[in-house]
């Protein structure tokens, strides 16, 4: 990529907006996933009996089982949220940037 093109794209407000919003969004989602997962794994390391609490007095099913299932579903939902926004909003911005590069 030529130096002038790099400078031009860098100065493009759409590009700045894209990089800023997408990075913030991706970092937020990454941190959410890490917090959920490490909360789970550290509970197992420090307080495993917590996940072994029965759901109700007469049930053998422990709270750890729905929690585990929810984490699996949660991971999938996060990827859905990111993909949906990236494939519409972020891709529109990207196409706008590409068009403005082509025009000159």
């Amino acid at each position: 990529m030529r130096k002038e093109l790099v400078d031009k794209i860098k100065a493009n407000p759409d590009y700045q907006h894209l990089v800023k919003t997408r990075s913030a969004f991706a970092i937020k989602l990454t941190i959410t996933m890490l917090v959920v997962y490490f909360a789970f794994i550290l509970t197992i390391a420090f307080e495993p009996s917590l996940l072994g609490t029965p759901l109700s007095a007469d049930s053998v099913t422990t709270i750890g089982i729905p929690i585990g299932m929810v984490i699996i579903v949660f991971a999938f939902i996060l990827t859905g949220i990111y993909t949906k926004r990236a494939n519409s909003e972020f891709d529109d911005l990207t196409n706008k940037i590409k068009k403005s590069v082509k025009e000159n």
């Binding site: 990529m1 550290l42 996940l51 053998v60 750890g64 089982i65 699996i72 494939n87 590409k98």
Partner: protein, 557 residues
């Protein structure tokens, strides 16, 4: 081309002959000939060889060979990625772990899954926008080709060979047990079929074999889980109550899998970053047309993999209630020696026995054939990734300095495939009686400690220099290997020493940290003229990684 078709036909006939002679031998030796399994397996092999023949006609350029021409859709690629991840080891291993330890199996599954969202948020898009055939394309984008490609290729080849050993040994034992074939025959059969798929059909055949297998595996596992749940009127409460009656309350809570915080965090890091450094997975992102399809791939892959882990959890519990203490599946000889109701073939056979319990001989045959198909598909993807590292990174970029023509490069990767296939067969036979429990862990540790830090920092950190990447990446690689050797599995269980020098089973926390610190320190202290140029080149690279301007597109077919 005509000549190639003739060789191809010859090899098909040859491999059928191997299969046929093997089954006869198996009949004599083991008498455990599983006819429905063999029939279904032969159908699978026939169909996949047909696909390979079709793919071979469409594989004309190096781009076709490495990336299926870049024309795979997000949905197809998601299925193929899920297929790469749902190896026989994870299907049988995780359901076996749930069968043996209950809840602990779920902890493992979750660790394997949570890396995927992070790959999507951080890696998938820049990877697709910057690379062409291998992840080393991205790592070496603005750094010096020779040292970075050499290191990245070493990391890839090491990961691939370790993974291949684990798959080959597992496949030999599994096939021996399921089909009554001899161990060596099984390993050679897997090796020969894999070489056929990859050399003739390239990425196109490898992807479709993977997609078909993923579909079969998900269907089979769904049927098993439904059959188990139907038995308990679709009530998890009654299934778990029965399981607790069989094995006690311990199966419902975390057990001894991760006992101390350091091991817990270290395992988490290995699973998360290791996934993002596996060359055969990263390579799949180049088979789709653009960043949009790359994102969709991860979305579908995460869905399929998550669904699969929920199924294996149900299957593991199904095995507790239907296989455990069922006299039909007990290993009486072993029970007489050690007690404790062991099942035939060990805990990893829990899902296989369950398939018989819910669907009889026919369904057992189906699941056995699917397990074999799974091994074939996974080793093919691995071998293709290893061969690409040899031909695209070492041959074309390091030896030929980027001046090799596409056809020569493709020829080298086909030769590399055959060599890797032969290495896999030899290693598979050599390691038959070895304890290979550490092998997959080591592969993940290397992927997390050498491949991932270089890839990640090359995408996001402006100040990364060649010197930093090479020294830091090597530190990560060396630390991972050394700590696995000094750890409890190799040092104590295999080498027979009394106490481990490094007390933890999973080295990732230490080796990944060492790699990042090494890369950081040797980059910021790099004051050379080249380092300055590498930092300056970051802006242009970042723009391409974010927007895809200048990225590789799909080829027309």
């Amino acid at each position: 081309m005509n000549n190639m078709n003739r060789i191809f036909l010859f090899l098909i006939l040859g491999s059928i002959a191997v299969l046929a002679s093997g089954t006869i031998e198996g009949e004599i030796v083991k008498q455990a000939l599983n006819v429905p399994a063999i029939v279904m397996f032969v159908i699978f092999v026939g169909a996949t060889l047909g696909i390979t023949y079709w793919a071979a006609k469409r594989t004309k350029s190096a781009k076709d060979f490495y990336t299926a021409g870049g024309g795979i859709t997000g949905f197809q690629n998601g299925m193929a990625i899920a297929g790469d991840y749902m190896s026989a080891a994870s299907f049988l291993g995780i359901s076996g772990l749930v069968y043996a330890k209950g809840y602990d199996g779920l902890i493992y599954s979750i660790g394997f899954l949570v890396g995927w969202p992070i790959i999507l948020f951080m890696i998938a898009e820049p990877l697709r926008n910057l690379g062409k055939y291998t992840f080393a394309d991205v790592a070496s984008y603005r750094l010096k080709q020779t040292p970075i490609r050499t290191l990245a290729a070493s990391g890839s080849i090491a990961t691939v060979i370790l993974y291949l050993i684990a798959q080959m040994v597992g496949s030999g034992k599994l096939i021996q047990l399921l089909f009554g074939l001899q161990y060596e025959v099984a390993v050679i059969l897997v090796g020969v079929l894999m070489i056929l798929y990859v050399t003739f059909g390239g990425m196109l055949a490898t992807t479709w074999v993977q997609i078909i297998k993923a579909f079969l595996l998900l269907s089979g596992a769904t049927f098993m889980a439904l059959a188990v749940m139907a038995h308990y009127d679709f009530s998890f409460g009654s299934l778990f109550a029965q399981a607790v009656e069989m094995k006690g309350l311990a199966v419902m809570s975390p057990g001894g899998l991760v006992s101390d915080p350091i091991s817990a965090i270290s395992l988490a890091i290995a699973l998360m970053f290791g996934t993002a450094g596996l060359p055969h997975i990263l390579m799949r992102f180049f088979t789709v047309g653009d960043a949009k399809e790359a994102r969709k791939s991860v979305f579908y892959a995460t869905g399929f993999i998550g669904y699969f882990y929920i199924l294996t959890f149900i299957i593991g519990f199904g095995a507790i209630v239907m296989v455990f203490k069922n006299p039909q599946y007990l290993d009486l000889a072993k029970e007489a020696v050690s007690g404790g109701s062991p099942i035939l073939g060990g805990n990893n056979m829990a899902a296989i026995h369950l398939s018989h319990a819910v669907g009889g001989d026919f369904f057992l045959g189906f699941i056995s054939a699917v397990a074999f198909a799974t091994i074939l598909a996974v080793v093919s993807g691995l071998t293709l990734a290893g061969a690409s590292a040899i031909s695209h990174d070492l041959y074309a970029s390091v030896i030929k300095k980027g001046k090799a023509d596409g056809m020569a490069e493709m020829r080298v990767s086909k030769i590399a495939t055959v060599i890797l296939g032969i290495i896999a067969i030899i290693m598979g036979i050599m390691f038959e009686k070895q304890n290979i429990a550490f092998v997959v862990g080591l592969a993940f540790a290397i992927a997390a400690s050498a491949n991932f830090p270089i890839l990640f920092l090359s995408m996001y950190w402006k100040n990364l220099t060649t010197r930093g990447a090479v020294i830091g990446g090597s530190i990560g690689l060396a630390t991972a290997v050394a700590l696995v050797i000094l750890g409890p599995i190799v040092w104590v269980q295999i080498l027979g020493n009394a106490e481990a020098i490094f007390p933890y089973k999973y080295p990732a926390l230490f080796s990944v940290t060492a790699a990042f610190i090494g890369i950081w320190f040797f980059s910021i202290t790099d004051k050379s003229h080249d380092a300055e140029a590498e930092r300056e080149a970051f802006e242009a690279q970042y723009i391409r990684s974010q927007t895809g301007i200048g990225a590789e597109g799909a080829s027309e077919h």
